[in-house]
């Protein structure tokens, strides 16, 4: 029998959930039979644990641009059992090409579908953790769709079960979580479709009406019959760049809530919002209050066209302020090939800064927020410029892997044009690169935050050269540090288990609504620190490239923490509450209305 959502809240909503013990580390992560966790660096790859997804890109030698860009995945708790499951977005053949034309045959049975893996995490009394994933694609009722790209996760119908929005080259899919382990495709009924080439998407309640709205980023106006042939300087055929096709506007879908027929539907408010007049080439989107006025804004990473910063005005309207704000193009005034994007307070000054990834021979870019929505390109001085020059980068995520209170950055790399050196060596898929990990050194002597490239210490999995695309972060084993789901194009998805975060103290938070038992995406959380500025984090699932992240907030406390901490939450509806004595080294659920109201 399906447990009604409100019953679950009674059980889990009280205060403490996910009762992780304070002592938990990679050593305590027991390998299930056939699994292996090597402790060889900051991250160790979890192998043989059942997550056997291999991305199929549909490559047939015709160089369809989409085949080289794809690879998305999500971390979400679809069965509300307290641990993160994994959803992997799958490709397919393009147009009417037969599967036997595939250069690299699919590893999964036909017809190809996205795949869902249930996390069957077991925590023994001594804190030992056993991670095991079970492929539940068939029982979840996932059906084949158009060629998949990205994913957003959020409980759009406020029933306490996280739903999914999968972006595709063709009709997208809104998958309603039925709460019984299955999903139903309600795209048409919910009026949430977009049949163009969509890549990023994000759920957020921008109009503060208590229902999650949806931003859908569209990439290029592509059709198989207008597929273009592009070539290298030697005349060899290669993948086209974004200039080969025109851009298309994104779509903002407002959640209309539950209608009289009990159905939850969306309305397209892109025109009203003022977003339709700017066609773009979106590959990434992130939601945050960039100018500190209390309203959610959108930042859109565009491929070779200026990025957009949609600042929310009154009446549901938005204005693209990126150019004036210094966040549309790089410091030299050039629009770059932005792919993934993430927002986070990497310098601990209380506002969300932006990091976006770019093509080889461009640097990735870090835009530093001044707190009022004005930005400065701080790529070079933070040390993130030079190491990115020779990579084509995609998924990127701010997360504090070592729980020292400073946000780090992981970057997934993989080329889109043939790499000469690899082609010369006869490589069958000459696009692969290694991924990168950057450690945040905190405030330097000059008062500026800088990064160091710690890829060499990051673990053997960082030595692999693959065509990586999506990075989704989340605490897979509930041990209080962020792990990573890495999705490769034309390759296996990988789970990177954090081996160092648990050495420090942390506080984990799940933020639930007052009347609705869902994760309150967009909530800003402050850790109140005596004698120091608060440390700010955001409950989010958006960011990175084609990914959905753990919606819980995990704050690293460093070595100094000794006991319970004080937390303040700025909820999406504008209300503010505070909790004293929130336990550390465990996850705590903070339900809106259960804290002390702060004027």
């Amino acid at each position: 029998m399906k447990l009604p959502a409100y019953v679950r809240i009674t059980v889990f909503g009280a205060i403490t959930v996910f009762s992780a013990t304070a002592v938990c580390c990679a050593a305590a992560l027991a390998a299930a039979p056939g699994t292996a966790v090597a402790e060889d660096g900051i991250f160790a790859e979890l192998k043989g644990a059942g997550l056997d997804f291999v991305h199929f890109n549909g490559m047939s030698g015709r160089f369809y641009m989409a085949e080289i860009n794809s690879g998305g995945g999500a971390l979400l708790d679809y069965d509300n059992d307290g641990d993160l499951d994994a959803y992997l977005v799958q490709g397919r053949m393009f147009g009417d090409e037969a599967i036997d034309k595939a250069v690299f045959p699919p590893k999964h049975p036909l017809p190809l579908t996205d795949r869902l893996y249930r996390n069957d995490l077991k925590v023994a009394k001594d804190g030992t953790r056993t991670l095991r994933f079970t492929d539940v694609t068939e029982e979840a009722g996932l059906k084949p769709g158009a060629y998949g790209f990205g994913i957003a996760a959020g409980d759009y119908d406020n029933d306490g079960w996280v739903d999914l929005y999968v972006t595709r080259l063709g009709s997208n899919s809104l998958l309603r979580n039925n709460g019984d382990g299955t999903f139903t495709d309600v795209t048409k009924a919910a009026r949430a479709d977009d049949d163009r080439w969509s890549v990023p998407a994000a759920f957020v309640d921008f109009d503060r009406d208590g229902w999650l709205d949806l931003y859908v980023g569209n990439y290029l106006r592509f059709s198989f019959d207008k597929h273009k042939i592009c070539r290298t300087a030697t005349g060899a055929q290669d993948y086209c760049g974004p200039s080969a096709y025109p851009g298309v506007p994104d779509r903002l879908l407002r959640n209309r809530g539950r209608g009289t027929d009990k159905a939850v539907t969306f309305e397209d408010v892109s025109a009203k919002a003022g977003m339709l007049r700017e066609p773009s080439k979106s590959l990434g989107v992130v939601t945050a209050d960039f100018n500190g006025d209390g309203a959610v804004d959108f930042y859109v990473a565009n491929d070779l066209t200026p990025n957009q910063m949609w600042i929310q005005l009154e009446g549901g309207r938005f204005s693209d302020e990126a150019l004036l704000a210094g966040a549309a193009v790089n410091a030299n005034g050039k629009a770059e090939a932005s792919m993934g994007v993430d927002a986070g307070d990497f310098d601990g000054d209380g506002d969300d800064d932006l990091f976006m990834t770019h093509l080889v021979r461009e640097t990735n870019t870090l835009f530093l927020n001044d707190g009022e929505g004005m930005f400065e390109d701080a790529t070079i001085e933070t040390g993130l410029g030079v190491p990115s020059w020779s990579h084509t980068s995609w998924g990127s995520a701010w997360f504090d892997y070592d729980n020292d209170g400073w946000l780090e950055m992981m970057i997934a790399n993989g080329a889109v044009k043939i790499i000469e050196e690899l082609a010369n060596a006869g490589d069958p898929y000459p696009f692969h690169e290694t991924n990168q990990l950057f450690h945040n050194r905190g405030v330097s002597g000059k008062g500026k935050v800088g990064f160091e490239d710690v890829t060499a210490q990051a673990g053997k999995v960082f030595e692999l050269s693959e065509v990586s695309r999506s990075v989704a972060v989340g605490d897979l084993d509930n041990d209080g540090d962020h792990d990573v789901l890495l999705v490769n194009n034309n390759g296996p998805a990988r789970l990177l288990i954090n081996t160092v975060g648990q050495d420090r103290h942390w506080v984990g938070l799940r933020l639930l609504g007052k009347d609705v038992p869902r994760d309150m995406l967009g909530t800003r959380v402050a850790l109140i620190r005596p004698g120091k500025d608060p440390l700010w984090r955001r409950a989010r699932s958006d960011g990175s490239f084609a990914a959905a992240n753990d919606p819980r907030v995990l704050i690293g406390l460093g070595d100094a923490a000794k006991g319970p901490v004080e937390i303040r939450a700025h909820w999406p509806d504008g209300s503010v509450e505070q909790w004293r004595d929130v336990a550390i080294d465990r996850y705590t659920t903070l339900k809106q209305g259960s804290g002390r109201s702060v004027p």
């Binding site: 025109a271 004036l324 193009v329 040390g383 020059w389 020779s390 000469e420 060596a425 006869g426």
Partner: protein
């Protein structure tokens, strides 16, 4: 799979080709250890044939040269440098780097090879190595401004602002009129947060190179950081993508080589393709030659060479054809026509050239000739719908609608799945007044797969025709479908809003007028229609907000003032009433337009403000002057309101 893709993948998959450096042992002078000179051999399998042939032949010559004893190091370094530049032009950077390294080792004092190495390493992202190369090149040619600028750029990327500034300053001392120097100095100043210093540097760039529009962005940001938002906005508004040019003679050699190699590839593709994939190689030409004019010049030179060499008519026809395409891209239709005609003289069955000829003739207004060209294509390709439609367009432009219609009807039978044919036929039927026929054809088109451009148009036309036929429900459906395809399609928004208002669905109408107002904020009629429908649907507060917004945009407009004043004086929702503001507006209105209507508005306003003496006075005057037997309704209204005011009640309370 295309031939090229096939070549690439078969090669990649079966690992046929692996880069195998070929070493040529060379006898070295006494006392110098024998060196192995390696000629790089990248994988050429996927390359276009002319490119592969060119590289292979250069490699082969170099190997021969390296084996000879009578060749000195200088000559060899030149030969390796030549191959390096060729690889560089083909963007085979690893191979180019190897060649330049060999050249450098053979001629250590020749700054060119060190400079090229710096450029290659810069491109590959090894900026530290690039700065070492640039510095070494500067020891060989100390005051070379280009190298100093490249060094400054690399140092800036490395975050070494002070060193970068020094390098740019050295360059300025040598070449004070070089825009790239000031671009570098400005960025170095900005890097040090010295925007007062950065601004004059960027201004200097614009003075030296006014078309470097990218500088406006840097200026805009510098002014923003200095707090001058006005200047920031002005410059950001002028921002463009045109870069600051760097005078780079060595770089130009590679660029010219790249131009030549790209040209050869284009021509080779043109020769080898049976079906003249013009878009493909025209696009390639444009992207690699850099600009249309450069491409045209290259082709003209090539044509002369081909003619001198007495090349086959087929070869020449293809060059004329490509040249024609480029001229079309450059907007030079008259010259393009000439080239297409020459191509067709040499190869009369070249259908694509004939289509392009027809198109160019049509654009030049030579419609009869265009039709003749299209007819000839149709003889060669009877099922070419695109050409048939172009012919129809030409016929319609000539006013030969009947003939066009007959052509389209025939096409509709032959190509029943072509939405474009149905749409064109519908258009011509609509033009001729056959609404029913047009509806049928648009309907057929709507059932087919419509393009994103066609969808809103087809549904809008259907809606308009159905509305004319009083089939309003269906018309609304199609307006909605048009808006689903394009929510900002103004004609459909206007159409559905007015029809809904006409049918009394004021709330919905107001919402569409609202969307229209957002899209066309300067259209007063739309704003008034929105306010009116809001009032009629009982949304009085919203109406007030929208009218206030309209008045803000059109401050002196009497119509807005009148509607707003009346709304403030007499809205059924008393919460939105504001007598004092209504008086101000009505007074101003009456002063500007002293009419009976404005007097009535003034009376309403006074009554709402509680000044019933004034209200009665103005209303009584109206009753005395306007009440006649000819307009009993007006008389009734004026009297009723007068009695309200006399009783001390505001206007129109019901």
């Amino acid at each position: 799979m295309t031939r090229f893709a096939s070549t690439l993948f078969s090669t990649l998959l079966i690992f046929l080709t692996v880069a195998v450096p070929v070493a040529a042992t060379r006898e070295m002078p006494e006392g110098v250890a024998a060196r192995q000179l390696t000629v790089p051999k990248p994988d050429l399998s996927a390359m276009e044939e002319s490119a592969r042939a060119k590289i292979e032949s250069t490699q082969s010559s170099l190997e021969d040269l390296a084996r000879r004893d009578d060749v000195d190091d200088t000559e060899l370094s030149e030969a390796f440098g030549h191959l390096g530049r060729l690889m560089h032009a083909y963007r085979l950077f690893d191979s180019a780097e190897e060649c330049y390294l060999t050249s450098q080792s053979l001629a250590p004092g020749d700054y060119r090879w060190t400079y090229y190495l710096g450029v290659i390493r810069n491109v590959k992202g090894d900026l530290e190595a690039a700065t070492v190369d640039y510095r070494r090149a500067l020891t060989e040619k100390p005051e070379d401004p280009t190298t100093l600028i490249r060094l400054g750029d690399a140092l800036l990327e490395l975050g070494r602002g002070d060193e970068a500034r020094q390098s740019f300053q050295r360059a300025r001392a040598v070449d004070p009129d070089n825009a790239a120097v000031y671009y570098g100095l400005g960025r170095a100043a900005g890097f040090a947060d010295n925007f007062e210093r950065a601004v004059p540097m960027f201004e200097k760039v614009l003075e030296l190179q006014p078309d470097a529009t990218v500088i406006h962005y840097l200026l805009g940001q510098a002014y923003r950081k200095l707090g001058d938002m006005e200047k920031a906005r002005v410059h950001l508004g002028q921002r463009g993508q045109d870069d600051v040019k760097v005078h780079d003679p060595l770089g130009d050699q590679v660029a010219r080589l790249a131009l030549g190699t790209a040209f050869e590839i284009v021509m080779s593709l043109a020769r080898s393709a049976d079906d003249y994939p013009d878009e493909e190689f025209l696009g390639f030409a444009l992207s690699h030659f850099g600009d249309v004019r450069g491409s045209i010049d290259q082709l003209k030179q090539s044509l002369t060479l081909q003619q001198e060499a007495d090349a086959s008519s087929k070869e020449q026809s293809r060059i004329h054809y490509v040249l024609g395409g480029l001229l079309v891209n450059d907007g030079r239709d008259a010259e393009a026509i000439e080239q297409f005609e020459r191509a067709l003289e040499l190869a009369p069955d070249l259908a694509d050239a004939r289509v392009k000829l027809g198109n160019a003739l049509a654009r030049q207004g030579k419609l009869e000739e265009a039709i003749a060209a299209y007819d000839r294509v149709t003889e060669l390709q009877p099922r070419n719908t695109t050409v048939a439609l172009k012919r129809v367009s030409a016929l319609m432009e000539l006013g030969r609608d009947t003939e066009a219609r007959q052509n389209l009807e025939m096409l509709a039978v032959l190509e029943p799945e072509s939405s474009e044919v149905h749409v064109r036929l519908a258009t011509i039927l609509e033009k001729s007044g056959d609404a029913a026929g047009a509806i049928e054809r648009y309907g057929k088109a709507a059932e087919l797969q419509l393009s994103l451009v066609e969808q809103p148009q087809v549904h809008f036309r259907l809606a308009s025709l159905l509305r004319q036929q009083d089939d309003n429900e269906k018309a609304i459906d199609h307006y909605r479908l048009a808006l689903e395809a394009d929510p900002e399609f103004v004609p459909a928004l206007g159409g559905v809003a007015s029809l809904l208002a006409q049918l009394g669905h004021m709330q919905e109408a107001a919402s569409f007028f609202g969307a229209l107002s957002e899209l066309q904020p300067n259209q007063l009629q739309t704003r008034l229609a929105e306010a009116t429908t809001l009032i009629l649907s009982g949304q009085h507060a919203a109406a007030k907000t929208r009218l206030e917004a309209a008045l803000k945009r059109f401050p002196g407009d009497m119509r807005v003032m009148d509607v707003l004043a009346r709304h403030l004086a007499a809205a059924p929702d008393h919460a939105v009433r504001d007598g004092q503001r209504a008086i101000v507006l009505a007074r101003r209105l009456f002063d500007e337009v002293p009419s009976a209507e404005s007097a009535e508005t003034l009376a309403m306003a006074y009554a709402e403000a509680g000044d019933f003496t004034q209200a009665v006075k103005w209303q009584k005057q109206l009753v005395d002057e306007l009440v006649t037997e000819s307009d009993p309704a007006l008389a009734q209204r004026l009297r009723v309101n007068l009695s309200l005011y006399e009783r001390g009640e505001p206007c129109c309370a019901e």
